[in-house]
């Protein structure tokens, strides 16, 4: 167990070190996120305050597009100089590679969220003060499910010729249930004033668990040098 955790830690460290040296992915997704928010702000009417429910929808658009870019980039570094072949012949389980890529992607999306969410809150005057915890729980669980699916398919499509477009095509429809679920839960919480129930949280957790387990099981099959 300790050995597995150490291997996961080392792989995450490797990915983050590459990211820290180049700072390509995080910079790119943050700028993209801000651009999306500005475009949506212009489209929805500048200066109008937006409810927490609207905030979730706007932030989801940012996280979805930024997330796909993160998944693509974290897998692309393995294609450079055949690094993936080296990773595959290393004495580590493929599940460890999946776990490390998943956590790296989650960290990058958290980095994106930490910058983009306050920017969106300022520009749209989001009012999350009524139920900040519900917002945090729903969005965290939602992003985890989305990242679980995205990490799996980023490995699958990284060797095909239509990487970016194809990855978005694969991940967006599969993530729709979690997007619909989180936006509807936010509608309930912010518009109807109904508190978040344990069943709601359990459903989102079930989604995450199933997709994490299925992705972990089939990751070995999709990973090819």
């Amino acid at each position: 167990m300790n050995r597995t955790l150490r291997q996961i830690g080392l792989l995450i460290q490797k990915d983050l070190r590459i990211e820290a040296r180049g700072r390509q992915t995080i910079g790119l997704v943050i700028v993209l996120g801000i651009l999306i928010i500005v475009v949506l702000g212009m489209g929805l009417g500048a200066g109008r305050p937006v409810s927490g429910f609207g905030a979730t929808s706007i932030l989801w658009v940012t996280y979805l597009f930024g997330g796909v870019l993160c998944f693509e980039k974290t897998m692309a570094v393995e294609r450079f100089d055949d690094a993936l072949a080296g990773l595959l012949i290393a004495p580590i389980d493929r599940g460890v590679i999946y776990a490390s890529k998943l956590i790296t992607n989650l960290l990058l999306i958290i980095g994106l969220a930490l910058v983009v969410t306050p920017v969106a809150m300022t520009l749209f005057r989001f009012d999350l003060s009524e139920h900040p915890l519900a917002f945090f729980i729903v969005m965290s669980l939602g992003v985890t499910g989305f990242t679980a699916v995205g990490t799996l398919f980023s490995a699958a499509v990284s060797s095909t010729r239509l990487q970016g477009g194809l990855l978005a095509m694969l991940v967006f429809p599969l993530s729709l249930p979690v997007v619909i679920m989180s936006t509807q839960l936010m509608r309930k919480v912010f518009e109807e004033g109904v508190p978040l129930t344990s069943t709601d949280v359990a459903t989102l957790c079930a989604f995450d668990m199933i997709f994490l387990i299925v992705s972990w099981l089939v990751f070995e099959l999709v990973l090819e040098p």
Binding site: V149, L152, F153, A156, V157, S159, T160, R161, L162, G165, L166, M169, L170, P173, L174, L176, P177, V178, I180, M181, Q184, L185, K188, T203, F207, I210, F211, V214, S215, V218, L221, V222, E224
Partner: protein, 235 residues
């Protein structure tokens, strides 16, 4: 010859059942009081919706079969079932929209079942769309199989998520005995058509694969022999 007769027989029976079902729909089934003649679309809508799920299930089973055995015929079967699922789901969406226009005065409402059908349609349209983007047949089959499995597992979550939307769709419909019989009769031609389309699609996919393999072999055979290396010339 026998197989050809069986195929003609199958399609003739399907066509005859379609004609009989249409005749039954207009001559035997009573007109519903509230909605009028538009309600008749329901007899087509329900069997097609159930067959859509069956086609999605075939995609799921064939995808597992491919990952388990790595035989290309599983991929051909999954692809054919994916096409049937998209075709049937499109009809479900269209008939649902016609029903909605008559019942609620709008072509589209974000009701759970309509949204569910739309997401299901999107999931399997993507399944068909991604395939031509992947050059290698093995890689294409593998990515499609993984997607087919994850998409099918996604279906219950789509159902759970859309249940949170406000609903105006009827939860259950009380049907007169004559109406129930018509629904049951409509299941026969719709299911036979799905099976026929699945078989035709599967055979077509097999044929395309055999042809492309034959072409590849011909390219290898017609290639000029490699010129001898200097070492071979000396020998």
């Amino acid at each position: 010859m026998n197989r050809k007769c069986l195929v003609y027989g199958f399609w003739s029976v399907t066509l005859a059942l379609f004609v009989a079902s249409v005749a039954m729909l207009f001559l035997y089934t009573p007109i519903e009081k509230t909605m009028g003649p538009v309600q008749k679309i329901f007899y087509l809508h329900l069997p097609i919706a159930i067959n859509t799920f069956l086609a999605c299930f075939v995609v799921f089973i064939a995808s597992i079969g491919y990952l388990w055995q790595r035989k290309m015929w599983w991929d051909d079967l999954a692809f054919a079932a994916g096409k049937v699922a998209v075709l049937y789901c499109s009809v479900v969406l269209l008939t649902g929209m016609i029903w909605g226009k008559s019942a609620w005065g709008s072509w589209w409402t974000w009701s759970p079942r309509l949204t569910f059908s739309l997401v299901l349609w999107l999931l399997f349209v993507v399944y068909l769309m991604i395939r031509p983007s992947i050059d290698s047949p093995q890689r294409r089959a593998m990515i499609s199989a993984v997607y087919g499995i994850v998409a099918f597992i996604d279906v219950p979550f789509v159902y759970l998520s859309v249940k949170l939307l406000p609903d105006i769709h009827p939860a259950s419909i009380a049907l007169a005995p004559a109406m129930k019989l018509t629904v049951l009769v409509w299941f026969l031609p719709i299911t036979l058509l799905a099976l026929g389309l699945l078989r035709a699609g599967y055979l077509l996919n097999r044929q395309i694969r055999t042809e492309s393999q034959r072409n590849q072999n011909m390219v290898f055979e017609s290639a000029p022999p490699a010129s001898p290396t200097p070492m071979e010339e000396l020998a």
